[in-house]
Amino acid sequence: MKPVPAHTDPELVALLKKKDPEAFIFLYEKYAGALYGLIEQVLGSTGLADETFVEAFTTIVRSIDQHDSSKSRLFTWMMQLTREWAIEKLKSTSPRTYSEAEVREPGVKVVGGLMSNLHIDEQQVINLAYLKGYSVEEMAGKLAIPPEVVKQRINKALIAINSQVKK
């Protein structure tokens, strides 16, 4: 693979909006693995990761004009789109069964480094919300705890992540 030229975020976005072929290739080389890693964690057991990745990446490129750099960086927007796409895929194709293994999975790899100082209960709700797309009510039902407790755990987790980032 030839070395890809470095672009700053705004440069890359500008080139993508101009449909610059080199920019598409750069985008793929730099971020395909990160997005595929996320999809694998959401859909790994379903065998749908490949098709979801193709759909999500193609959608990202097609919808590049919808990216608003005043709201987020390019990669954040890509990750949000990919995560939502994968979760919708998960919801539409598999019964929403809830397994013990799903709950007790080790911390989300994508944000794993940021979750290292979280309590296991906090990691659990972040996992379920981020990777499986469960709502607060769904988690409350499945974990047999009040929704308020779920909200508290999520909030504590986010604050802990926030303080981790500051360090």
Partner: protein, 247 residues
């Protein structure tokens, strides 16, 4: 809530990870414009998240790279079309479009079934027509064969041959055509009376006083007026006699 408290509430992480509700998102975006320092906080978390994601990257299967990039490059070389992101099965509208797809499929299926049925019946009819035509053709071929066997060829160069009357009883109501090239002999009967049972007519050729039999025949009971007789190489005249085995 001041900006410090707002930041420490975890809203930045919630926003970036995609947990925030629409209301929270709108509020956060408004706060971004009012507090430039919030942008820095947001970007710091975005970068740390990006770093984590890149560190945990899993390379997709190699063949997907070609598939995706060739699709994108082909698409981007076409005139731009406005693209709206639609997530799979996200809204009731999505479900309704699925229903439409199912309905369309059913209609398409019914259409196909009808066409198959139509083609089948048309095909059966055509098959029947072909069989009928074949039969007709066979009948015509048979008729043609019979006629060809019996008719005088159009380029027939034969002359009406001199006919010797066998007996007074037979009036000259027949003609003999003889083609000296092909040696075919045709007997054209206008009228020959029916003979008693057992008796038959016989056609002769006569050459230098010698008679040669060209065949025995019965006067036609049907409308078959032309009879092909045996071929003869030479003939000066022809004669018909009545053959009576009893005599």
């Amino acid at each position: 809530m001041n900006i410090k408290e707002y930041i420490e509430s975890g809203i930045v992480e919630s926003y970036v990870l995609g947990f925030a509700s629409e209301k929270e998102k709108a509020e956060f975006e408004r706060m971004l414009k009012q507090h430039p320092e919030l942008i820095q906080v947001r970007e710091r978390f975005e970068l740390s998240l990006e770093k984590e994601a890149l560190a945990n990257a899993i390379n997709p299967p190699v063949h997907l790279r070609e598939k995706i990039l060739s699709g994108i490059l082909e698409e981007s070389s076409k005139p731009a079309a406005k693209v709206v992101t639609i997530y799979p099965q996200k809204t009731t509208r999505r479900i309704s479009s699925k229903t439409w797809a199912v309905a369309a499929s059913v209609i398409l299926l019914l259409g196909c079934a009808y066409m198959v049925y139509t083609f089948y019946t048309v095909n059966q009819r055509l098959k029947k027509d072909i069989a009928q035509s074949k039969q007709n053709l066979e009948k015509l071929e048979e008729k043609k064969r019979v006629i060809e066997e019996n008719i005088v060829p159009p380029n027939y160069q034969a002359k009406p041959a001199k006919v010797v009357l066998p007996q007074q009883a037979i009036t000259p109501v027949f003609e003999v055509f003889w083609d000296s090239t092909s040696t075919n002999v045709y007997l054209i009967i206008k009228h020959l009376k029916q003979l008693p049972i057992g008796q038959r007519y016989e056609l002769w050729s006569v050459t230098k006083g010698k008679k040669e039999s060209l065949g025995i025949f019965d006067p036609p009971a049907d409308d078959k007026l032309i009879i092909k007789m045996n071929n003869v190489q030479e003939a000066e005249s022809f004669a018909i006699t009545i053959l009576d085995p009893g005599k």
